[in-house]
Amino acid sequence: MRFLAHVDVRLRHGIADPEGATILRALPALGFTSVASVESGRSFRVELDAADLEAARSMAASLADRLLANPVIEESVIEVEPLG
């Protein structure tokens, strides 16, 4: 079966986020004066074949942990759905 995994990679709490900070500083110039914070991250959509949803989740978690995110500074949130 084919599945679509959404992998959202974000910086761990407490790790400096220079991209988010720069975007936050740029927003007032566009008139967005009430933005309180910006966190940057990266999202991936990965299509994969697996026997069932559980196997697809486990594969997505493994590839996120081994390649898409650097666990030293990042964490990933994963959602998997069947592709019909």
Binding site: A16, P18, E19, T22, L67, N70, V72, I73
Partner: protein, 226 residues
């Protein structure tokens, strides 16, 4: 006997010839090793040079870490062979977990290409053994993702085990604790963001990198691995 130094070339590496040139100028013998090779051959030391391996896609070093040659690099490192990662090479060693921590984008998102003032913090590594603690060195930096970071437990471990080799005097990239270079526990695997290979001749503006690379060549000549 002069030390035989392998310089690993990934697709996108661009400092390999500078590294070989510096090694040769200081009395060693440098030779290039391609990322698709699976063995190192007879070697005394290894340099992972600067550049943009695999375009720095995903994160610097994230793809290079899975290169065929990296298994041999790991074996060499774990056997005690001297290994130095410079700039992108430092990022590769961190991604490969041969060194702790990670390199993030510079504070202020600025690409930095300038001389940097370094202070030698520890001489118990293959790269700093001939230097003296407190010595100031002017060595260029050239990077976008050079801000060293790690968790606080790792930082206190690095400090207590004397593994912080070099600190920036003015911390241009926002590295934690102004760290410019670290070593592994044994001191044989080291990584630094500044480019000592670009500071081995007064023609290049500084000769201060030579003391670092001479330490490395000395350690390599004395090593029995490979």
């Amino acid at each position: 006997m002069s030390a035989s130094i392998g310089v690993i070339v990934f697709p996108g590496t661009n400092c390999e010839h500078d590294a070989v040139g510096a090694v040769d100028a200081l009395g060693g013998e440098g030779r290039l090793i391609f990322h698709t090779d699976t063995s190192l051959g007879q070697l005394d030391g290894l340099i992972l040079p600067g550049g943009f391996a695999h375009g720095d896609y995903l994160r610097p070093g994230a793809i290079a870490r899975f290169s065929p040659i990296m298994e041999a690099v790991r074996t060499f490192a774990e056997a005690g062979g001297p290994v130095v990662g410079i700039c992108n090479g430092f990022q590769v060693l961190c991604e490969a977990h041969l060194l702790p921590g990670a390199l993030q984008k510079n504070r202020g998102l600025t690409f930095l290409c300038q001389p940097s003032e370094l202070e030698v913090v520890s001489t118990s590594s293959v790269l700093t053994s001939s230097a003296t603690v407190g010595q100031r060195l002017s060595v260029p930096i050239n990077h976008f993702s050079g801000s060293y970071t790690c968790d606080l437990d790792t930082l206190s471990q690095l400090e207590s085990q004397d593994r912080i080799m070099l600190r920036y005097v003015d911390n241009p990239n926002g590295s934690i604790d102004s760290i410019a270079g670290i070593s592994n526990e044994a001191g044989n695997v080291v990584g630094l963001m500044p480019h000592p290979e670009r500071a081995v001749s007064s023609l290049l503006g500084s000769e201060d990198g030579a003391v670092l690379l001479r330490s490395f060549l000395g350690a390599a000549a004395a090593a029995t691995v490979g």
